[in-house]
């Protein structure tokens, strides 16, 4: 007894004792849960395994980016779902960033009216649950847009209906490679030209019209290649046949509603991050830049934004992460993402709750952890170096 008391009083040995107790407690409770699982599985005649993934899925998916039929395997179905998750996330992130940056800048404008309208818009958007946004937009598309027969018609090539949006589908023909090549070449040129201009300015002080030249090159070169190679893109237009449109690209109402809702919701948060980032830059920086005689645009692009970027990027990344995780709410409106395929229909058909949920959670964990690792790496690369 006296010996135990002595161990407890000694700080380092106490630390060891506590750690052993914690590890025992954690492993003990895990062991308990797993032994329960084994007992329950034995009672229900179930076994644990991932062999169900290779069996045919037997259900259809209404939006497939890769080839898939209902005879494909469950694994394939999960892959299709994962791609659908990525599709929504990528489009949502692009839209949300554009909208968020614009809103954030208007929020700081000296125009009273625009500033306040934006303020109330942002407050309303971000204080309403994301699920509600999704259901609201889905409901609006399904219930208030017209049937295909009286679709909103945009020049006979694009149509808005309650069954989704129909737009022309570009079809690549032979010779398209030249255009791709031209795009790559133009981008490479733009990057090098910008570097050259920067070096020139640093050495001689001469400024080149970088933006104008690059813009012209980026537009003109691919356009030239397009014409020279004989317009190697044709469009397939949607046509009304019977009760619905055929042909063209069909954007499902679920996809449109989900992307739009995620983008609008996240944009409100991004706007606040952008605003906070710009406000975080000390007033003296702007004043010094103005005292040097820089024009307002240059003050923003050369002094404020490079510093604000350091403040904005970390919360921005976590907004991207939130958007990706929120896309799992797709199941509420029947968009077939990872949760709806693997964690929804596959789960119900095979009865493999544990295996499917493990896979779904593992997938999201991989996405989350890799994004936050990238974020940490970026953070350390732009951090101010204390000397």
């Amino acid at each position: 007894m006296d010996f135990l008391a002595r161990i407890w009083r000694h700080e380092e040995s106490r630390a060891v004792v506590i750690q052993i107790l914690v590890i025992l407690a954690v492993f003990g409770s895990f062991g308990w849960l797993i032994s329960n699982l084994v007992t329950n599985f034995a009672a229900l005649n179930k076994n644990f395994g991932f062999d169900f993934l290779s069996q045919p899925a037997g259900y259809d998916i209404n939006q497939t980016l890769v080839e898939y039929t209902n005879r494909s395997s469950h694994l394939r179905a999960a892959f299709v779902g994962l791609l659908n998750t990525f599709l929504v996330a990528v489009f949502g992130i692009i839209l949300a960033t554009i909208m968020g940056v614009i809103l954030g800048i208007i929020r700081l404008s000296n125009n009273w009216l625009a500033r306040n309208v934006t303020y109330w818009y942002i407050e309303f958007t971000r204080n309403v649950p994301i699920l509600l946004h999704i259901l609201l937009w889905h409901g609006i598309i399904i219930n208030t847009l017209p049937r295909p027969k009286n679709a909103y018609n945009f020049g006979d090539i694009s149509f808005l209906t309650n069954r989704g949006f129909y737009v022309p589908e570009p079809i690549a023909e032979t010779g398209i490679a030249a255009v791709y090549l031209a795009v790559v070449a133009a981008i490479v040129f733009a990057v090098f030209f910008k570097r050259h201009a920067k070096k020139l300015q640093a050495e001689t002080g001469r400024q080149l019209p970088v933006f104008g030249v690059n813009l012209a090159v980026l537009i003109a070169v691919p356009a030239l290649a397009f014409v020279v190679s004989g317009s190697p893109v044709s469009f397939e237009y949607p046509v009304l046949k019977g009760f619905n449109f055929k042909g063209g690209m069909h954007l499902l109402p679920e996809f449109v509603a989900l992307t739009f809702a995620l983008a609008i919701y996240t944009a409100a948060f991004i706007a606040e991050n952008v605003r906070a980032g710009i406000l975080a830059i000390h007033k003296g920086q702007r004043e010094a830049a103005e005292a040097l005689g820089l024009r307002p645009g240059r003050v923003m692009s050369l002094v404020i934004l490079p510093q604000a970027r350091r403040v904005i990027i970390p919360p921005l990344t976590s907004q991207y992460l939130n958007l990706t995780k929120n896309s799992s709410l797709a199941i509420a409106i029947g968009y077939m993402d990872l949760v709806a395929t693997l964690g929804g229909i596959t789960l119900n058909q095979t009865g493999r709750e544990i295996e499917t949920m493990l896979l779904v959670m593992g997938m999201y964990l991989i996405i989350s952890l890799s994004i936050s690792m990238a974020m940490n790496w970026y953070n350390s690369s732009v951090k101010l170096v204390d000397r």
């Binding site: 630390a15 506590i18 750690q19 797993i34 125009n111 204080n127 219930n143 949760v339 949920m357 952890l369």
Partner: protein, 370 residues
């Protein structure tokens, strides 16, 4: 000339400000029409507002129908929004299927909630010390009030809970249970003991890495596999546990930010005073860390409160669930915009109030020069 009067330096009476810089005209000029770009922006905004008011106000209010018994009847009366879908079921939207005769009980619990949180949120509350005891007892009071089963209150099953009442229950329970767990996790993450630190980090990163909806699926479909055979477990309780775990990971990160913001001198001073780990934590670390993380905690709470809507996916009847049930009724089919806007308005009002509170608190706690 007669009016060419001379003044001694400094004795000239103040001239009025130039016209157009004061009053309404001056305000309009500086705030709306100070430059060409600004004028264009103002005109666009004014046009947008005009369009919004003209097209939406009529639908919302002027042409709206408040009392009707089905969608078809609404359409016969007027062309605007059919709010009847809400007014006919307002009781369900607030209480779910909680028995009519007992609805005073959640009402009392709701009022008492404000009495319980006032001393926590507003430091100048009169009789704060005494009220804090009530705050500590509130969870039990509310539980017995709402679930009943003692003191002659009839028992009410949790499967009848729904509507905004369910939102409040999940939100308030989630945040008050996750706060202690979150504090423990944040301390664990900073611990010198390797095993404690690793376990805390693993828990936090796992909870933050997966969507809440997958955790709710786990609660609803497979939690039973992990419990001894024959255990039955209330679905609401399972959801509350998962929501608590989820929120505690976020709270832990907020509090960790608070702990890291404490200057090193504080710990050195505590060490110099001879305080041990728990004394330092209780008397030095936590009081300061919690104080600076209150705004973050409130923001986490707003997020959690909004996330309570996800319980609809596993079949609990929160306001969204009630709304979807109403829409599934053939009489009200297709009125999704009205239903969801109503629920959205409820969430907007409560979340906006909370975010204003958090802003007020941030200003009050900030010691920066203005």
């Amino acid at each position: 000339m007669a009016d060419k009067q001379t003044y001694a330096p400094g004795s000239h009476p103040d001239l009025p400000p130039p016209p157009g810089t004061i009053g309404i005209v001056g305000w309009l000029r500086t705030n709306l029409f100070s430059s060409v770009n600004n004028t264009i922006l103002s005109l666009i905004t004014i046009y947008f507002l005009y369009w919004l008011i003209q097209s939406v106000a009529g639908w919302f209010v002027l042409d709206a129908v408040v009392d009707a018994s089905s969608r078809a009847e609404c359409r016969e009366i007027d062309s605007g929004a059919c709010w009847a879908v809400i007014t006919k079921r307002i009781g369900q939207f607030v209480y779910g299927f909680y028995p009519h005769a007992e609805r005073w009980r959640p009402n009392v619990a709701f009022v008492l909630l404000f009495v319980a949180v006032a001393p926590l949120l507003y430091p100048k509350t009169p009789m704060r010390r005494q009220l804090l005891w009530f705050s500590a007892a509130y969870p039990f009071v509310a539980y017995f009030l709402i679930c009943g089963g003692i003191l002659g209150l009839p028992e009410v099953g949790t499967n009848t809970f729904g509507g905004f009442m369910l939102t409040m229950i999940v939100g308030v329970t989630g945040i008050s249970a996750s706060l202690p767990l979150g504090i423990a996790l944040s301390l664990g993450r900073q611990s010198r003991l390797l095993s404690v630190r690793v376990i805390s980090i693993a828990f936090i990163e796992f909870m933050r890495g997966v969507p809440l909806i997958t955790l709710l699926f786990v609660a609803s479909t497979m939690l039973n596999y992990f419990l001894p055979p024959g255990t039955t477990f209330n679905l609401l309780l399972r959801v509350l546990i998962m929501v608590t775990f989820f929120a505690s990971a976020y709270i832990a990160e907020v509090i960790r930010g608070g702990i890291q913001a404490i200057p090193k001198g504080q710990y050195e001073a505590a060490d110099a005073m001879g305080l041990n780990y728990w004394q330092t934590t209780r008397l030095v670390t936590l009081p300061q860390a919690l104080k600076i993380s209150i705004p973050g905690i409130v923001n986490t709470f707003i997020g959690l409160y909004k996330d309570t809507t996800l319980v609809v996916v596993i079949g609990l009847l929160d306001p969204l669930g009630i709304g979807r049930a109403a829409l599934a009724d053939a009489k009200w089919n297709g009125l999704s915009t009205e239903t969801y806007l109503f629920v959205a308005l409820f969430f907007f009002v409560s979340c906006f109030a909370m975010s204003r509170y958090s802003l007020w608190l941030e200003n009050r706690l900030s010691t920066e020069h203005k």
